[in-house]
Each structure stands twice: as structure tokens, then as C-alpha cells.
Amino acid sequence: MAKVLVVTSGKGGVGKTTSTAALGAALAQLGEKVVVVDFDVGLRNLDLVMGAERRVVFDLINVVHGVAKLSQALIRDKRLDNLWLLPASQTRDKDALTDDGVGKVINELREKFDWILCDSPAGIERGATMAMRFADEAVIVTNPEVSSVRDSDRIIGMLDSKTVKAEKGEQIKKHILITRYDTSRAARGEMLNIDDILEILATPLLGIIPESQDVLKASNVGSPVTLNNAASAPAKAYTDAARRLMGESIAMVVPSERKGFMNRLLGRRAAA
């Protein structure tokens, strides 16, 4: 049965789009049929991170308004033939998303895919509420930092009250994905630790993605990190997270630094 998963956070810049692309690609690499849907109307970026920016013809708003058929707007990934993208409009605004219209598109996607990943815009306005509206599960992307944790808490409250599932009295399944985790800063006690975040948010952990150059490199070239460098630490962490979404139980690995003595000295000097 198809699953609708919203990738959300409240706060901007925590890694929603990167995580949507990476989790979507990882699920596809594991054999699932996946579509990633960009809900950031007016500020789309999922197309860019997926490397499909020059192939966008129609978008989600066109489909919602009946201007284009779903099959015309879906873009098939060039690397994985079971991975698709439904881009957002760059010219319209978020008011163009209607409850009924989005509901119909999601239902149509449910018939075609195993996973529908909705990339939420930042904030708590219409775009964000529409992205979560029809979700069965949610990934809340959180950085180990006070403002991000506070916004995640707010978003959890909305997931529990403003989604169709919540309104029916059902529980939406929620997962915390910690991104931009900096091992050395955590070791120095400068960053909220993972247990504290999970305790404060009272939500189970899906994965810990280390801060890494590989993430930036991947978006520079328009490729999800799990495709661009499958052996990298963030790619492994995203793949583990995808397996957990599929129901596998995989031991959680807290990213650790493997640096030599000299590197440590240099690293410390740079951080000081």
C-alpha cells in the first residue's frame, strides 16, 4: 500500500529538500517506486537538488488546476527509473494549492507509487499545512540547535491536529531525522545531544546525518547524496534511515570522527 510521507521542520535551512531527495533516492535504490513532490510553491528547489531543473515543463499547480495531466508533469529520474519528481511552480503562490485539488493529486499518486515524499516549505503557512495534510507519516528534520528543536515541537503539534489522519482521530507516525550533526561540537558539549532532543520532542529517531562536505557536493552537481557518493557517511546514514522507513530494524550509529592526531589538532585550531 502506498505511503505518503511529509518531510517537514518548521525552520528553514535545516535540510528538508536535501533529505527528501536523499531519502527518495535511497528508497528507490532499495527497489521501491518513489515520487518526490515539491510543495515549496514559488521557491522550488527540489528540481535543482535532483538535477532535473531543465526538464520541468508542467508542475504541481498545473495538475491541481487541471491544466496538465499528472503524467505530463511527472519527471522520471535519469539515473533510477523507479524514481520520479513532481516539481512545484516557480511563478504561482501558495494560495494556488487547494485542499481538494491536492487531495486528488495525492490519491492519483497513491495508485502509481509505493512512496510519495512531500517536501514541505519552511514555516507554518499554507504551503507547509498542504504538504502535511494528507500524510500517513512524517519525517521531522531537526538540527541540534535550540531554534530548530522549538520549531520541530510546533510542527509536531500541527501534525497531531491539522492532518486528515489526526482529524479522523488516527495517529500520524512521526520520526525525527537529525541532520547537520557535528561530531566534534557534540563532543565539546556545544551542541544539544541526541538523547536530549529525543526526550524533549518525545518522538522516535529515524537517523542521524552527519554534517559533511559530501552533502554540499551532491547538491552542487544535482544528485541525491545516496546516488552521488553511496559510500559517504551521510549516504549511509540516509540509506539506513530509508531501510527503517521500510520497517527494517537497523542499529542506530552515532556518527563518529575518525581523525588522526594531527588532524585533530588542526581541526581544533580551526574551530577555536
Binding site: 535550540v146 515541537d153 558539549g189 556545544e190 544539544l192 524533549i200
Partner: protein
């Protein structure tokens, strides 16, 4: 353990526990407010309805404000009446 050793050597204290404590206090407060109907807006609407039964007034000139203190909270209602009808301001502090 290496974390404690590092802290000892560097002489710096960790700021993460402070972050944790501030968040816990803040979120406990914010969760308490969540889910409550928008009390101020309801009060504003109802006060507006009652007063405008007797006096013509501009809905924009009705201000309802709540201040939370440690021991008492105050509700301030400030209604500006148009000149000519009743040249006075009603200010009620509860």
C-alpha cells in the same frame, strides 16, 4: 568520558545543558497554550458585539491585550469611541 577530559583540559564549560534546560521550560509553556481556542480574539469579538449594541464604534479601535505576570495576569481592554457621539474613552482594566 573523552568529552569530560576535553572539557577539563580546555577549561570551557558546555553550553548544551543550558540549551536543554531553556528549551524544556519554554516548550512546557508553549504546549500549554497550544490547542486552546484563541481566547483574546473571542473576548475581542464578544466585547465588540456588546459595546456596539449601544454605541457606534470602529472595530479597528478595540484593543484587547493580556499580560502574563508571575502572580497576576492583566487583561486590558481599550475601546476608542468616535468623537461627537460620546467624547470619552473607555478603559477597563481587569
Amino acid at each position: 568520558m573523552s568529552m569530560n577530559l576535553w572539557r577539563l583540559l580546555s577549561g570551557r564549560s558546555a553550553s548544551a545543558p543550558v540549551a536543554r534546560e531553556r528549551l524544556q521550560i519554554l516548550l512546557a509553556h508553549e504546549r500549554g497554550l497550544r490547542g486552546q481556542p484563541d481566547l483574546l480574539n473571542i473576548l475581542r469579538e464578544e466585547i465588540l458585539a456588546v459595546v456596539s449594541r449601544h454605541v457606534d464604534l470602529d472595530p479597528e479601535k478595540v484593543v484587547v491585550r493580556m499580560d502574563r505576570g508571575d502572580n497576576v495576569s492583566t487583561l486590558e481592554v481599550d475601546i476608542e469611541l468616535p468623537n461627537g457621539v460620546e467624547p470619552r474613552r473607555l478603559a477597563v482594566v481587569v
